[in-house]
């Protein structure tokens, strides 16, 4: 009774095994760090150095809401730094939540500063979570697990173990 070895990388239907995460941070160092945290957690990652670029990647650039088919395959999660020059993470969060096409994408805000009013502001605006920097592998694994549960209830197995 030969059966193909079960492999989590093979997918019957859409082939969209890995969640696609958009990470926004003005610090190159932090972008590099979060990219590694995410790829080590089996996520596909796109990074952006500011809110404007992030919006463009999401197809929400200055010229309105045109669909952008570049390499912006569906984004499953957005992680953004709070403190960024120009458009802050909060401003970005607001714009995303105001967009009919993007408002359902979970947005996680990260910050190096523990400011309760800031945290409340972001959560009130619809941020899924507010996490303190530096981000830990355990934070990312938890986020990834939550993503899997929401998008594919049958893949609950991925949340077991570490």
């Amino acid at each position: 009774m030969a059966s193909p070895p079960s492999s989590s990388s093979s997918s019957a239907s859409t082939g969209d095994e890995k969640p696609h995460v958009l990470a926004v941070d003005d610090s190159l160092l932090d972008r590099k760090l979060i990219e590694k945290l995410l790829t080590n957690s089996s996520c596909k990652v796109t990074t952006a150095e500011n809110g404007q670029k992030a919006l463009e990647l999401l197809g929400l650039g200055d010229d309105g809401q045109r669909t952008f088919n570049g390499d912006a395959s569906k984004v499953n999660l957005i992680i953004t730094d709070y403190c960024m020059p120009g458009m802050t993470g909060y401003d970005l969060l607001k714009k995303i939540k105001e967009s009919p096409t993007m408002k359902d994408i979970p947005v996680v805000v990260v910050s190096s500063e523990n400011v309760p009013t800031r945290i409340k502001k972001c959560l009130d605006e619809g941020a899924q979570e507010f996490i303190m920097k530096p981000l830990q592998l355990s934070d990312v694994k938890k986020l990834r697990c939550q993503l899997t549960k929401f998008s594919n209830p049958h893949n609950g197995m991925l949340c077991m173990g570490r």
Binding site: S27, L28, L29, K32, L33, K36, C83, S112, K133, L137
Partner: protein, 154 residues
Amino acid sequence: MEVGQMQSRLADYTKSLFMEGILDAQFLQLQQLQDESNPDFVVEVVSLFFDDSEKLLNDIARALDQQCVDFKKIDAHVHQLKGSSSSVGAQRVKNACVAFRNFCEEQNAEESRRCLQQVKQEYYLVKNKLETLFTLEQQIVAAGGSVPMIELSF
């Protein structure tokens, strides 16, 4: 010196950096993220930290030298430095930045200059230590050994 001895020396050296508070658990996190797909990850991230820091320290020094000191700008630079030092686990640099920001808020130029010296001192210390650490690692690898993961309980 044979590989085993080199590995012990590296382990002792690394542990001392944690004991002295020069590095914190975040550095361990960086090491844990490194793997075969990116074997130079720690060195690359630390290099970014060095580049970032030197530029920021210069910018801060220049800003403090101005006739009219722009504390808001300095605070922004120190905030950035605090962020990157925190991201690599350079604990004493991070702590020095926290103190510095308090004086920026008070717009105290004299204390700010003192803080800058303090931050610089801590930065050059951690830079020196990390460069030594990487050299020890390279020596082990050159001798055919592998760099063991440090086990530390926090």
